[in-house]
Structures are given as C-alpha cells and as structure tokens.
C-alpha cells in the first residue's frame, strides 16, 4: 500500500517542475553521479503532500520517494527523439459507442455495503477537503528537520 502510494507520487514528481534548489541537506544519500537526477526538495515534498493529502512522516518515507524517482528516472536514458508519444495501446482502435439506454442502477443498498459509514442512503465523508496545515504548524519530520538544517554552520 505504502509503496504503491509513493510510486504514484513519484509519477507526479516526475511531471512537476518545481525547480527551486532549496534541497533537504539531510536528504538521503545525495549521490550526484546521475547528473540530471532530481533531488526531493522541501517545496516538492510540500507540494506532493498537498496533492496526495499524505504525510511523509519520516526520513524513511522521503528516502523511498527519492528511490522511486530514481527508478523512474531511468526512463530518461531512452532516446525518444522524433517518436510520437503513445497514449495507450488501444489508440488506433475504434471507440465503441453505446446506445443511450438505461441498463444499470437501483442498487444503492449493495453499493453502500462497501462504505465505512452511511446515513440513510448517503455515503458519509469528512467535512469538505481538510487542507494540510501550513508547513510551520505541521507535525512532520520536515518541520523538525528545518531548524536542524539552519543550525549547520
């Protein structure tokens, strides 16, 4: 579960262009031999946490993320010059069109069986989107690391 989430995040990080180099000085093994390798910056981590509503929690989480990005970065070694990107292996197939007929529905009870909590025939969710608190107020290791980084001479 955890791994799947991180790899999904890695994909997001992959597309992300937040280029500010204010890196985590303590981020895991900043091996520089790859050259174009993207470091997990504090801003990037913050952005990802907001998007995914996930708290990376500790150093280990960040290391996993870094590794996932490195793993995905291997794709960059393939030369794709002049090649049309492929959306899907089905992209040259015909898109099937359905008749406008009602064929499904009327099984609220069965559907709601999967839900953790329900009220009458409704799903129950937390109120609105709960935004992550501002970085300063967040109880994460990101925040704890920050003063340490500043402590360095």
């Amino acid at each position: 579960m955890w791994v799947r989430r991180v790899s999904a995040l890695a994909r997001a990080a992959f597309c992300s262009q937040s280029g500010s180099p204010a890196g985590l000085s303590s981020a895991s093994s900043p091996r520089e031999e790859g050259g174009c390798r993207e470091k997990v910056t504090l801003e990037l981590l913050d952005h990802l946490e907001h998007l995914a509503l996930v708290d990376f929690r500790d150093q280990e989480g960040v290391e996993r993320l870094q590794k996932a990005i490195e793993f995905a970065d291997q794709l960059h070694s393939i030369n794709t010059d002049g090649i049309q990107p492929m959306d899907s292996v089905l992209e040259d197939r015909c898109l099937y069109l359905r008749e406008d007929k009602v064929t499904e529905g009327n099984f609220a009870e069965e559907l709601l069986k999967n839900a953790n909590q329900t009220v009458e025939e409704y799903f129950v969710a937390p109120p609105g989107n709960i935004p992550l608190p501002q970085l300063e107020d967040r109880d994460t290791f990101l925040q704890k690391k920050k003063p340490e980084a500043e402590d360095l001479p």
């Binding site: 998007l51 089905l90 197939r93 099937y96 008749e99 064929t103 969710a125 609105g128």
Partner: protein
Amino acid sequence: MAAPTVSRCRSWFQTGSFGVRNVAQVRWRKSLVGASTLRGSASKTTAEKNCDAPWTAVVGLEIHAQICSNSKLFSGSQVKFAAPPNSLVSFFDASLPGTLPVLNRRCVEAAVTTGLALNCTINKKSLFDRKHYFYADLPAGYQITQQRLPVAVNGSLSYSLCVGKNQNEMVSRTARIRQIQLEQDSGKSLHDDARGQTLVDLNRAGVGLMEVVMEPDMCCGEEAAAAVRELQLILQAIGSSQANMAEGQLRVDANISVHHPGQPYGVRTEVKNINSARFLAKAIDYEIQRQVNELENGGTILNETRAFDFRLGCTIAMRDKEGKQDYRFMPEPNLPPLILYDAKSLPTRTCHHQVVNIDQLREKIPDLPSVKRAKLVERYGIQPLHSFTLVNEDGLMEFFETVVTATQMNPRKVIGWILKDMLGYLKQHNLVVEESPVSPLLLAELLNLLESGMISSSAAKQVLEIMWNGEGKSPALIVKEKKLELIQDQNELEHICRAVMDSHQKEVAEIKKGNQKVLNKLIGQVQRTTGGRSDPVSVKQILEKQLSLQPRKKTP
C-alpha cells in the same frame, strides 16, 4: 480551463467592440464618484491620480450545460433530477475497481449539434483526458474531460441586449467560443456542519456535461446575462440540454478583471457556480465594482476563486481551494480517440450505430432562436424588440401564435394585448405562460368581441381582468353578465352626449372658442357615464355633430 492572461489580452484587442467598452467605462466611473469623494484628500496616492481614469471590465464565461440524455456519459445508469440518493449509480460511477468507461453516443451527438449551432469547427478527432483533484463527490479522484483536443472549437455566439433609457433599443453583440468539451459531472455533497460531516450522493456523478468556454468578450453583467440567455435558448431549441438553471443543468463560472484602457489586463478572479439567471448580472457587476473599489483604495486583487452569496448579494472568497491547482492532466488510457465522420469520410464497412455523421446532425438542427425571431417579424409584421420578448418567455411565442390563428385581429394589435396585458398579469402574479388562467383561445374570443365592435377596448380590459381572476367563464358570458356591450342604440348615445354637454358648459364654451383638445375630455366623460360601454369613435361623431348644430358657433 482558464487561458493565460497574455492570450486573453490579445483576443480582447481582436474584438474591437469599442462601443461596449465606453458604456461600461461610464458606468463604473459613475458609481465611483461617491467612493472617491468619501476618501477625501487624506491620501494622495497613485490610486488617487488614477481614479480620474475610467475602468474597463473584462468578463469571460465558462458554462457547464448538462446533456439531456437518458443515461450517463460513460455508464448505463439513469439521468434524473431529484431521485432517491445513490439510486442512479453504477459500479463505474462509484469507480469500483475493474470498471471501464463506455461512451454514450447520444452525448457525442448532443455536443456535436451544440458545436454546429454555435458555429464551431467540429474536430473529426478528439481526445479524452483525466483531470485529477480530490473531493469526496469525485470517487475516482479524477474527472474524464477533453483538455488537449476537444470535440468543437472556434465558434461564436451572437446575442442582443436592450440599451437606452427605456430599454427599447436593441444592440447585438458577438462573443467568441473557444471550445466545447465533453466531460463528466461530479456527485453532490451535502455539508452537515453541525455534525461535522459531508453526505455524498453520486446520482449526478458521471452525467454528461458540455463545457462551453467563451473568450473574454464581454464587459458587464448585463452582457453576460444576455449571452447566457441566448445560449440557453439555443440549447433548448436543439434539445442538447434542458438548460434549466434552477435544476443545475446550466452552471456559469465567470472570469472577471478590471483595468484602465490602454493598460495591461488586471488580475482576474473567478466567480464560481452562478446558478441563477436572476443573479447572474448582479454577481458579475458586484465583482467588477468590488475590484474597482479595492484598487481605488490602494488594494490589490488576488487571483482567487470566489462564490456569490445570493442572500448577502456579494461575492466571497472560497476557502478550500487556496493556492495554485495542479490538476495533473494525463491522457485517459481507457478511451481511444473519438473519431467523427462527415458525408465524404463516411466509412462503408462500419456498423452505422458506431458512426456519428456530422453532416446528418447538421441537417437535423431545427430553427434557432434568431431564425424564429426573424420569422415572427416577417410573418406578423411585429417589431424585432417584440419578437425577442416572445422568444425569451417560455411558451409565449406559441401562445401568441395560437391567439393570432384564432382571431381576426391584426397580429400587430394582438402583440400589444399579449405583451402589455397578458405578460403584465403574468409578471405581476409571478407565473409562467403555462400557468396562465386565461387560455390563448379565450383571449382570442375576447379579442374577437373587441374586433367585431361588440365591446370597447376599455371594456375588453375589464373583461380580461375578470377572466384573470374568474373561474374560466367565457368572455361572451362575462360581457353579458356585466352588461359591458357597447351601446348600439344611437338615440340612447345621443341622449347621453346631450346630458354630458349640458353639465359641462365650460368645456363646451372652450371648444367653441376653437380649443378642439377639450373635446377629448367630453369623450372621456361620456365613456365614464356609460361605464366604458360607448364606442369613442361614434361618441366623437355625435359630439361634433351636436356642437356644430348649436348656434353661435365660431368657425376656426
């Protein structure tokens, strides 16, 4: 789907609707006079200097229209308003694992027809994308939309609005349409603040929407409201959407900014989910004025999303979407490109259920509102302004045409009764045409009584009032019961006229001095005496005759 500011600026200068801009400038400035005088000379800032310059507002709309279809865009569950919660949900709509989207042909046709009606270029190949965001009523965590290559592009919407002191002058405008894209609707959330929870109903999740993205070619709330009304009429005419704002079938987002003419555009805000025709113009004008006031007072405009509060009549910043959104668009891997055909490119070997033929859809488009109006003007000789009212009010055109076919009265006279009397009553009682207690056939009967000289026009108005409040009695019966028939007996009329003249010697003398205008007063007096049962034309003749018979008459 907001475009970068640069391209918006460019598009503004292409339109060149300078007339409109001037109107807006005057307006925003006028309302500013109060604000600037209030501030006095306490702060001589740059804002102070600028406040002499007028402000220009730029308004662009994004409109979501719910497609009128039996089933949803990608699943076979029903589309219906106000059904029991979660009763119209398939496994796909709830995004259970292993489900796949299957595109509804009807939704594609609706979008193509809408594109054609709005003069768009239809893309023979369009693509689907995923737009990601987290919300409880979006179970998949993404919405399938058309970001890269939408189904229709580069269209235009022509609309008209009333200007001038008495709102009796029509001007026409055109707003360009950037694109029309197919996308899924989300579910609905009911926020229960007391218990700190959100109730989610997925009945609406996956319903087909057409998002119509317009260029920022408008400059005030009134223009935007007129454009939305015209779009609504077009969608209803072609049947691609019922476009009922009260049921959320037409939702409007407005991008708004203000700037001084000749200067770059200001920072824009987005007013989301304006779901009321009545408040559309108000919400936009409020936001324009808010931005002007903010800038006049040395403040800045934030690029933010705001909501219009109908009760407070103002826009407020929305809380939970702070910061820049990152939608992480990606191609929808489960849907190959959507290919459309025309008569020339029609494939011979594919099953015809699988082919959407653009040319065939074009042929099926019925009369659009603009054509309907032109035909009304041509067929009945009524004013263009009146044709707008007839088409704008739901069912009024049909009402008018039914009356016209059932009466001998000239349509140009009928239109007055429809627009002034009938519509007046309807507005006064806050009813729609369909709910009118007076049917078109009964009104036609009344107008026939008037036309045949049975009753006077003032008596006809009395009868209409009784019909409006009555219990469906025929006009002829009401006339009989209330004795409203015109006095046909010439002797009786002459007798009444004589009596009126006798009791109004002063006026008679005036007329004899040559002041013919006073004659109208006498006619009115006769009308009053007869309770509106005399024909003014014959009364006039009788009076003139009697006046000329009297001695000492001065010839003018």
